[in-house]
């Protein structure tokens, strides 16, 4: 009997035959995310590496049983959330079982007193947010993929939302989780505000990209809906001045919700579309929460920007416009992809002392390959921030576009490693950056490797990801 037949037979006993599929349509659709090579294949009318079976479980116990079975017959298990990742993290490079989590969408409890929500992780981000809003709360987690990603996907990939400067990233929001380990045991970490009980096991699984466990429930910190939200926008002379202004704002303890500094290239596009002179670097900010606190934060920010940096106050329009139209950039994508262009994003991070250098050095990589690139800086900390590059490149005669794509990433990642930045701020590793993760960690990578070995002796969960398959793993998807 083939592996697929065995899986079909055995898994149907766990979830019922109506909740699994071996049809090509299901296998193809459930095994791709939004990583560029998948788009290339779609345009080229080619398929990709498929799993053996797709499963739609409804309970944690069913997932546990599936994983135990996978251990018994030694096949991989890959978890699918919303499929909105951009790094190939759900690619079934070695076949196996795809678990689509979206039927696990129950909100278990909203605790008004403790301001927490307990939820299953297959719920889409905005579905949870909409329900919280009805109760007067917000999670405060607004990644651009909020309408398509799941809470499990956020947790597994250490996601960051556009309001993260105030509300934190997903790892700051999670108090406790339920996880199915790679051998099938179900564990829980306690949802407490903090503990001094040894290493934080919750955080071990946050960002583990389905390699160390499947997160099935989570208790998350929530907030009262803000009393007020205000926007301000400035024009600064350069990236340097903009970053310095932000550094000082954060040093004062001010935490705007949105902070985005656009480099000269991105500023040109943005301000031109608003009919404003396209010069300098645009900085947009928002403040939200208690009205009195918001007013103070705004005043401190105005002082820093206007008095210290002589920034031009552009009013609320550019910032508000961005918030309302923040998804509009998406609509160009399909047309560009149909022309088989490279259209991708790269998000790296560094401390203040390296941030500007990181920006300019990666820019050089883009220039080397004659890539059109623009960037904004967002997600700030007292210690530094992230850079988000958007880059485009048309086909070149004689060079396969896929090859150029990898050259760009290779040079950019090596540049980032040389400078001492983080090779991903919030998109994760997946297959795309796996080759550079061991170098990023250095000899600390063996800690991750040992944890993987101990938790997953049969290498069942999402094998080859988080750098365990190196560059070769990425080649297996086609």
């Amino acid at each position: 009997m083939s592996t697929q037949t065995v899986l079909k037979d055995r898994i149907s006993k766990i979830v019922g035959e109506e909740n699994l599929s071996t049809s090509l349509v299901d296998l193809a659709i459930c095994s791709r995310d939004l990583w560029l090579p998948y788009f290339f294949n779609i345009v080229d009318r080619k398929l990709w590496k498929l799993p053996d079976v797709v499963v739609w479980p409804e309970t944690t116990e069913q997932i546990s049983e599936i994983i135990k079975l996978a251990n018994e017959i030694k096949v991989p298990v890959i978890t699918l959330g919303g499929g909105a990742g951009v790094c190939g993290g759900i690619s079934p490079t070695r076949g196996g079982i795809i678990i689509d989590m979206k039927r696990m969408n129950k909100i278990i409890e909203i605790d008004d007193k403790s301001l927490t929500v307990r939820t299953q992780t297959g719920i889409i981000g905005m579905e949870l947010e909409e329900e919280l809003n009805k109760h007067g709360y917000t999670l405060g987690h607004y990644p651009l993929s909020i309408y398509s990603s799941t809470i499990g996907g956020f947790l597994a990939c250490r996601s960051a939302g556009v309001l993260s400067n105030k509300y934190g990233k997903i790892e700051d929001m999670v108090l406790g989780i339920q996880v199915v380990l790679p051998t099938g045991e179900i564990i829980e970490t306690k949802p407490v505000p903090r503990s001094a009980t040894g290493p934080n096991l919750t955080q071990l699984f946050v960002g583990s990209e389905g390699v160390l466990g499947i997160i099935t429930e989570a208790t998350l910190r929530i907030h009262e809906l803000p009393e007020e939200r205000i926007y301000i926008s400035y024009r600064l002379k350069s990236v340097h001045e903009g970053l310095e202004a932000i550094r000082k704002i954060f040093r004062c303890g001010v935490r705007p919700a949105i902070v985005r500094l656009y480099d000269e290239y991105d500023t040109k596009l943005t301000l031109r579309s608003l009919g404003l002179p396209a010069e300098g670097c645009l900085l947009i900010l928002s403040f939200e929460g208690n009205s009195k606190l918001v007013k103070v934060e705004k005043e401190i920010t105005e002082n820093i920007c206007e008095k210290e940096f002589k920034a031009e106050n552009l009013g609320e329009k550019p910032a508000k416009h961005w918030w309302i139209h923040r998804h509009d950039q998406y609509w160009m994508l399909p047309t560009l992809l149909m022309g088989k262009m490279i259209v991708d994003t790269m998000e790296v991070a560094a401390t203040w002392n390296k941030l500007e250098k990181l920006y300019f050095e990666i820019r050089k990589v883009f220039e080397k390959y004659r890539v059109t690139a623009m960037a904004h800086f967002s997600h700030f900390y007292q210690e530094g921030g992230s850079i988000y590059f958007t880059f485009l490149k048309s086909k070149e005669k004689g060079k396969p576009i896929e090859q150029i794509y990898w050259y760009i990433w290779k040079d950019a990642m090596e540049t980032c490693l040389k400078i001492g930045g983080a090779i991903s701020h919030h998109h994760g590793i997946g297959l795309l950056k796996g080759a550079w993760l061991p170098k990023y960690y250095g000899n600390a990578y063996k800690v991750l490797a040992n944890i993987k070995r101990i938790l997953d002796p049969n290498n069942i969960l999402n094998p080859g990801k988080l750098g365990f398959g190196g560059m070769d793993e990425a080649r297996k998807i086609f």
């Binding site: 599929s21 659709i29 779609i42 919303g82 979206k102 297959g122 579905e127």
Partner: protein, 383 residues
């Protein structure tokens, strides 16, 4: 081939970042990756690219392509800025599958039944008017196209409308030769049969010499207004939804405000609202009756589907009902006394699950009640 016409749109949709996932009413209850709109577009691309074998995968393809209410919410901004028409992509794919005889048995049944009985319910065509307070006139200027659902299943809507028109002294007639408008057939992938019905209906109405036709079923109305011209059937008379027609006929001064302070939430039927842009007339009519409207959080252009559209009520009752339950929850959140709509399908959906939690009414029923109360309470003359 119709599929080819939409395959580029499907590819574009499949290359997008899937923001519309959040709003798909079917996917929100089915919760499987292939059911989300961009993945249905990807399925169409896989078919058009011959990457799937229709003979081997036909059942799965049909299953997903018929799991859509064709409500079109996913095709509106801000969820879609690509001007993709998902209902058209889906209908083109259904037509393609139907041309290959690769559609579910219960879908084929609809076409066979409609062809035989001139209605999709399998009821005798001779009894189309049997349950109605019918009126036929040779010289009327206005015709009322009842539609199969109000004729056989929701006669209270047809009768309310007939009584309203009589009360208002409108010179109207029913259409003796009326047949199914073809809408269910268009939605399910049978445009050729639909065209036969369209030609018959238009010719029957034309021969009556009326200048206006009014509709209470948004599906029928959409068929005449939007679909018939698209399948090359000219409509040589004016068409109106009953709310558009009546809102012009009734002055609020002529109605006793018996409904003062009674709260109503209005559910926009997809065919009437999003597809034809008619949002205000039903609301204005309710206001003229004295009702206080409390909107659901998803309303007008963003209204969520009742779950009956695109043939889903027939194809998968359970999923259809689950979608209706979600929409009903929204209605209940408004704490309105009445859930009003203007579509026999939407009314059926909500009526079946409301269990007394909220009163479900078609706007024609509400208007007739108001007119009756007006005449009972005062002898106000309606002009």
């Amino acid at each position: 081939m119709k599929l080819e016409k939409y395959s580029k749109q499907a590819l574009k949709c499949a290359l997008c970042l899937k923001m519309c996932k959040f709003v798909c009413p079917v996917a929100s209850v089915v919760r499987r990756e292939p059911v989300y709109p961009p993945n249905k577009a990807l399925i169409v691309h896989l078919i058009a690219s011959k990457l799937v074998d229709i003979n081997e995968e036909g059942d799965v393809l049909a299953k997903y392509l018929y799991l859509c209410t064709t409500c079109g919410l996913c095709s509106t901004e801000p969820w879609c800025g690509l001007k993709i028409s998902m209902p058209e992509i889906i209908e083109s794919a259904r037509t393609y599958l139907a041309s290959l005889n690769k559609v579910p048995e219960n879908v084929l049944e609809v076409e066979k039944t409609a062809r035989k009985n001139y209605n999709p319910y399998g009821e005798p065509n001779t009894q189309r008017f049997s349950h109605l307070n019918a009126r036929f006139s040779d010289n009327a200027d206005v015709a009322y196209f009842i539609g199969c659902t109000s004729a056989y299943r929701r006669t209270e809507i047809a009768n309310a409308t007939i009584n309203i028109l009589k009360t208002l002294n409108i010179d109207f007639t029913l259409i003796k030769e009326e047949r199914c408008c073809g809408s269910p057939l268009l939605r399910l992938g049978f445009p050729e049969t639909a065209k036969e019905f369209a030609q018959h209906n238009v010719s029957a109405i034309e021969s009556m010499g009326v200048s206006k036709v009014v509709f209470t079923c948004p599906g029928c109305y959409r068929a005449f207004k939007k679909d018939y011209p698209e399948i090359d059937v000219d409509v040589p008379f004016e068409v109106y939804h009953i709310s558009e027609f009546l809102v012009e006929q009734i002055d609020e001064k002529d109605l006793t405000q018996v409904n003062h302070e009674i709260t109503v939430t209005y559910h926009d039927p997809c065919h009437l609202g999003r597809h034809l842009g008619i949002f205000d007339p039903p609301r204005k009519l309710l206001e003229k009756m004295g009702y206080k409207i409390k909107e659901m959080s998803w309303n007008k252009e963003s209204s969520k589907c009742c779950g009956a559209g695109g043939g889903l009520l027939h194809i998968n009752k359970e999923i259809s009902k689950d979608i209706a339950r979600k929409r009903l929850e929204e209605a209940l959140e408004t704490e309105a006394k009445i859930l009003a709509t203007s579509c026999p399908f939407c009314k059926t959906q909500f009526d079946n699950i409301a269990n007394g939690k909220i009163m479900v009414k078609d706007i024609t029923e509400l208007l007739l009640e108001t007119l009756n109360k007006t005449f009972t309470n005062e002898s106000t003359k309606i002009v």
